[in-house]
Symmetry: C2
Subunit: 201 residues, 2 copies
């Protein structure tokens, strides 16, 4: 899948799983080289369809997605809320998607797991997109007030990430510093994130 | 996969995707009928391997997993922290896994997306487990102080869910009220969770 995502050959360090898992997990990564081509509404619907089936506390499904297709006024507003280092590559996305979740339950009590649940839905969205050969890259670097205003987000909803969704592009269109980073990132080994019986002292 | 997960036939309402997605997303669900059989350390490692490759803010990988295998003192302690309505079925899990994340960055500043990122890792863990035919069911219903004490969780880490991991069992071993609920749950349609350009008023 990596070669499909990046038609311009880069020496991508292949990710090696230490334990047998679906290729989907290691093949998915957060590229920045985008072509500027459109993403169809039906393609976006498939991403939200995957997200939809995530589990959540009490099946409350606190996640919501606001999407703006390239060329729309909403796309321009959301793009403007991004930090410049994200704007420089995300401007070639086919769509920008804000991932938000409800802070409260319908009865007004806090919904403690809303962010955790939204993260689960986001992961499904990202995996589905990767399986379709799309670049799906979440950004935390944006002006939160500007982004919330851009999508007219009411009180009571948390904005977690802005996701760039697009078609793979030419790595040489990226600024040099980002060209050098255009490769799947590494991870801590399982031994550093999973522990038997107790948290390590 | 549903029939594999539930050797005792129940009239499981098949989930229908409204938009084409990987079967993995619709086939995964949170069952409670567990056999009590063991889950091998290598099987657990495969779940954490999937989680490991999730994306996170600045690739900070704030997630950690504390796992306890059935029969261990840690399993008994974690089980005791669950609400009775979870304990009644989770006692037949092969392992219990606490999903936690770091509240702060190494420099002491808050890590705003730690729960969201942990949710992403949890989703990968759940999907990998479903692909292996395991029941992987996250619970929010537990005594947080007791669960944190059970795994000796230090300050600075949030405990999100306790996950029961196990082999599918006989639905008739569940209490009658849970037998009736032992089926994949429904979800809101995409039209109710995804919106173009702005959040609906």
């Amino acid at each position: 899948m990596s070669s499909q995502l990046h038609p311009v050959a880069l020496p991508l360090p292949a990710r090696t799983a230490d334990h047998d898992v679906l290729r989907l997990f290691t093949d998915r990564w957060s590229g920045r080289a985008l072509s500027g081509a459109a993403v169809a509404p039906e393609e976006l619907a498939r991403l939200f369809e995957a997200a939809r089936w995530a589990p959540s506390g009490g099946n409350g499904q606190p996640w919501r997605f606001v999407h703006a297709r390239r060329g729309s006024p909403a796309f321009a507003r959301i793009l403007e809320s991004l930090m410049p280092q994200n704007r420089v590559w995300a401007e070639r996305a086919g769509a920008l998607v804000a991932v938000v979740s409800a802070v409260h339950l319908p009865d007004g009590r806090p919904r403690p797991a809303h962010a955790f649940d939204a993260g689960a839905a986001w992961m499904s969205l990202a995996l589905q997109g990767a399986s379709m050969g799309l670049v799906v890259h979440a950004m935390g670097g944006f002006d939160r007030a500007a982004a919330a205003a851009a999508i007219e987000l009411p009180e009571g909803w948390d904005l977690h990430v802005i996701v760039a969704v697009g078609r793979p592009g030419d790595v040489r269109d990226l600024p040099p510093a980002l060209q050098a980073r255009e490769a799947p990132s590494a991870r801590k080994p399982v031994a550093e994130i999973a522990f038997a019986d107790r948290f390590p002292a």
